[in-house]
Amino acid sequence: MKVTMTLSGQDKLARRLGHLQARIERAARGAIQVSAEELRDEAREALERGPATARRPEAMGRRAEESAAVAGSLFVEIDDDGLGARVGTALEAGRDLEFGTRETPARPWLFPTFEQLKPRIGKRLAEAVGKALKQHGPGRGRGRT
């Protein structure tokens, strides 16, 4: 169970802007790292709050235990180039909570969290890249070796 975030299109931009590639990617790496960690933290909060409901009472205690186990197992993996990240869990209980089972209704903790954060993540990436472009400034970099 994991969500993958990948920044694409930066190569096209870099071709146009040449030497700006390194600056843009450096800025994007920071934004991706922060966003992945934010998603992990918010997903953990989603797991830790809310009622543990189930169709059978005995399943409720088990569900609370599963939520706690999944919350403690969340990982963030950053790609080698720093431009992609994965947030998730290796535990099957993560999938059972996200999608539900025959005994217990779904209590999604990952996908809705990602959907809620997506606008903020997009804004963060845009701001980071914009800042890098602004710092570079018009004309800077020309004539340098």
């Binding site: 999608f99 539900g100 089972t101 025959r102 996908f111 809705p112 959907e115 809620q116 606008p119």
Partner: protein, 141 residues
């Protein structure tokens, strides 16, 4: 607007699925086998409208009256193997993906199949299929 557009989308999706003969022919209870809430002792296989997310367009922007939603559908089957669930899920995609649904009070900007997964339920007997669709609507009323 959020709850209103979510309900309107759910109603349109439910009607589209219940009105898709290629899908209902595969369900134990026909058109009655597409549920919002599953009655006890329902006959397998059946399809359930599941979880939704909704994110409104940014206020004070041109997208202020736009709503981006996702809707998850669940297929439950007791067939020995995943073939039945996969057949049903293909029929769900055929009924919904890029369909031109009529949504009360809203115009449909996009309806797109996004994701599916199938697995064996922890009971060891039931096959569970999950599908997600992305829906973008714009308020008209």
């Amino acid at each position: 607007m959020t709850a209103d557009s979510q309900l309107a989308v759910q109603s349109a999706v439910l009607a589209a699925l219940q009105g898709a003969p290629a899908l209902t022919a595969l369900l134990a209870d026909g058109a009655g086998g597409v549920y919002d809430s599953v009655p006890a002792e329902s006959a397998y296989p059946y399809v359930v409208i599941g979880e939704a997310t909704a994110v409104p367009g940014e206020a004070d922007s041109k997208d202020a009256d736009v709503m981006e939603q996702t809707l998850t559908l669940h297929t439950w089957s007791r067939y020995l193997g995943l073939a039945e669930a996969k057949q049903i899920m293909a029929a769900v995609v055929a009924a919904l993906d890029q369909a031109n649904l009529s949504i009360s009070g809203h115009s449909l900007v996009l309806l797109r199949f996004e994701f599916s997964s199938t697995f064996l339920d922890p009971d060891g007997l039931t096959r569970h299929g999950v599908q997600r669709f992305r829906v973008i609507t714009q308020q008209t009323a």
